[in-house]
């Protein structure tokens, strides 16, 4: 079969162009020395320098990071617990309702989630700021964690936990010493997923934030309304870089683990 045809080549080019041309333009213009975003005036890293001087952006980045770490950690704990109940508890009254309620935020429009959380926070008189964004992000990212972790738990061999109980563990020790280390990769990827979701969330954050806490997406969005500045381009390029490096590291680690596993298995087959 002939792999290369003009049709394939065109489709590939168009596909990649659709995905990456906007980003490439953004990256290229972040190195523009001109203050006018659309006019090329030579290469420069001046906007990166100015970005580092910009307190507002740095503050927003710090807030975003704090929110993302806290909300993804809480979401991971809660999501893992929910997954355990869903997979382990077997049938109990209201199981379908419970699982439905856990997964509902996956399909719930963000605007609605944001609005309802806003009403809740106003209702209970909680001052809006970092805490409310953390709570809001936990709410919607928890279900993603629970999906990832429960798909791992389904294939988890229960007899491992029984063996731990049999050897003298309390149920909690069995979870901490056996189950958790084994499902750790799923828990970590759940955490990473929650972390990224929180990092780039704009809608829910803008509903639940107050004047004291501005996240990076909110900052960028409001800055863009006053016109795209080269600084924003530089900031966005940095975010792309961070995400790219993260993804590459994650995939390398996964690949290394797979290679090590394969080598170990070959070793096991060798006669002792």
């Amino acid at each position: 079969m002939k792999r290369f045809t003009w049709f394939n080549a065109t489709a590939l080019t168009l596909g990649f162009a659709f995905l990456y041309v906007p980003m490439i333009i953004l990256i290229v213009y972040s190195f523009n020395s001109s203050k006018l975003v659309t006019v090329w005036a030579g290469f420069s890293t001046r906007w990166y320098g100015e970005l580092l001087q910009n307190e507002e952006f740095l503050d927003a980045a710090w807030v975003t990071l704090k929110v993302a770490v806290m909300s993804s950690t809480i979401a991971t704990v809660l999501g893992t617990m929910a997954a355990l109940v869903l997979v382990r508890a077997g049938r109990f009254a209201g199981r379908t309702l419970f699982s439905g309620m856990i997964y509902a935020p996956l399909v719930m429009p963000e605007v609605i989630t944001g609005l309802s959380l806003l009403l809740l926070f106003i209702g209970i008189g909680l001052e809006r700021g970092v805490l409310t964004i953390v709570l809001a992000h936990t709410t919607f990212s928890m279900c993603y964690v629970s999906v990832v972790v429960s798909s791992r738990l389904v294939t988890f061999d229960r007899s491992l936990e029984e063996a731990a109980l049999d050897l003298g563990c309390s149920p909690f020790e069995a979870f901490r010493l056996v189950t958790l280390p084994i499902i750790a990769p799923a828990v970590i990827s759940g955490w990473l997923l929650a972390f990224t979701l929180s990092l780039d969330d704009l809608v829910i954050a803008s509903f639940t934030t107050g004047p004291s806490a501005t996240t990076l997406p909110i900052k960028i969005f409001s800055a863009v309304r006053l016109g795209v500045s080269p600084e924003i381009n530089a900031l966005s390029t940095l975010m792309i870089a961070v995400v790219t490096v993260g993804v590459i590291i994650a995939s390398l680690v996964t690949k290394q683990a797979a290679i090590r596993q394969a080598r170990d298995e070959r070793m096991a087959e060798r006669p002792a």
């Binding site: 731990a164 109980l165 049999d166 003298g168 084994i182 170990d264 070793m267 096991a268 087959e269 002792a272």
Partner: protein, 374 residues
């Protein structure tokens, strides 16, 4: 000589280690264990044998504490276990899948239970080394479970479950994943370890050969009940029912009507065929349905009509199964009934004389078979 025979179940003064008292276990509508009462003694190697779904695994899981009886009591060393969780029992289990912790090395797997007891480090290390030596795993202590072979994994599982020196060790189909040769070696190894450690073993298996090899007593189970408990030779030579006779080894079952004659019973099984004469201590009513069970190796096969034998039948060789050390002949009687006869191949193949379609005589003594009423 009499004292060396291990048979605590015949000693009325011996206290059983495990007592099932009227135990019933239901899962919804399904009754897995049906009003079962059984004693198991210390230092026994007790085998639960039966087809899948007969309740043998449920019995074992109740001993380990993973399931609770719906009714009745289970006592271990006189203590009612129904409220005792698995982690508080002096019982350890070797799982069918081995259930080795994949994230821990062989050494840490074996040390796992010891560490939970909070013993000091030197004692744990000494005990782990001892277990590694016992199971010949010292070389593999640092490897992870997926870096060793199936047979080695099985030994790790055994070492781990023995490390805490439990009163009772439960083995759930321990050798199922091994190939035949390795399985046989391991069976003897298990018996050896059981003797060395003096632990009580309860093994669950569906492999009758395995149960016969390792066990001091075998319990044959069916549909949540124990049909017969006896030593392997009694189970084989004196089964109490057609079910047990058929489950253990190869057997010919001939069903007919009883005609008691003094201490013997004649069995009429077909028109025009001679009666079968057997001996029994049981009493049978004349005309009662009776099953005659005889092992193929107790049926002699000859080309000439044998003399001085109470039971002889004429038939035609239908099939010969040559197994190397033995041959099994399928002899068809004129009634269509097929009787299996087995002979040891003490001569080289070219010298043997019976072949397909030959007319032969099969015969046996009056004590060779067992008479069963169910």
């Amino acid at each position: 000589m009499a004292q060396t025979v291990f048979a605590p179940w015949n000693d009325p003064d011996e206290k059983p280690l495990i007592q099932f008292r009227g135990v019933t276990k239901r899962f919804g509508d399904f009754t897995a264990i049906d009003n079962l009462t059984q004693d198991i003694y210390a230092r026994e190697f007790f085998a639960l044998l039966g087809p899948s779904g007969c309740g043998k695994t449920t019995m074992m899981r109740m001993l380990a504490g993973f399931e609770r009886p719906t009714e009745g009591q289970i006592l271990i060393a006189g203590q009612d276990m129904s409220r005792v969780p698995p982690n508080k029992r002096a019982v350890n289990m070797m799982f069918q899948s081995y259930a080795l912790f994949p994230h821990l090395s062989v050494w840490d797997n074996i040390a796992f239970g010891l560490k939970r007891e909070g013993r000091d480090k030197d004692k744990i290390a000494a005990r782990v080394e001892e277990m590694l030596r016992l199971t010949r795993l010292s070389k593999f202590a640092k490897r992870k479970p997926h870096q060793i072979s199936g047979g080695q994994r099985q030994r790790v599982a055994l070492a781990r479950s023995l490390a805490k020196a439990p009163k009772l060790l439960l083995l759930d189909e321990p050798l199922g994943a091994l190939d035949k040769k390795l399985r046989q070696d391991t069976q003897f190894e298990l018996m050896d370890i059981q003797e060395k450690t003096g632990t009580t073993f309860v093994i669950v298996t569906h492999d009758q050969e395995e149960a016969m090899t390792v066990a001091s007593r075998v319990a044959v189970m069916d549909e949540g009940q124990i049909i017969q408990v006896a030593t392997p030779d009694q189970i084989y030579e004196a089964p109490n029912s057609v079910y047990v006779a058929d489950f253990i080894g190869d057997v010919n079952i001939i069903t007919g009507r009883a005609a008691p004659q003094g201490d013997k019973v004649a069995i009429r099984f077909a028109e025009g065929q001679p009666e079968i004469i057997g001996t029994t201590t049981k009493t049978f009513e004349p005309g009662q349905e009776i099953h005659f069970a005889i092992r193929p190796e107790k049926v002699a096969i000859d080309t000439e009509e044998p003399e001085d034998t109470p039971n002889k039948l004429r038939g035609k060789v239908l099939d010969i199964a040559y197994l190397g050390n033995i041959s099994t002949y399928h002899v068809e009687l004129p009634t269509g009934l097929i009787v299996k006869a087995q002979t040891a191949n003490t001569r080289r193949i070219s010298r043997r004389q019976i072949t397909w379609e030959d007319t032969v005589w099969i015969s046996w003594t009056d004590t060779a078979g067992v008479l069963l009423d169910r």
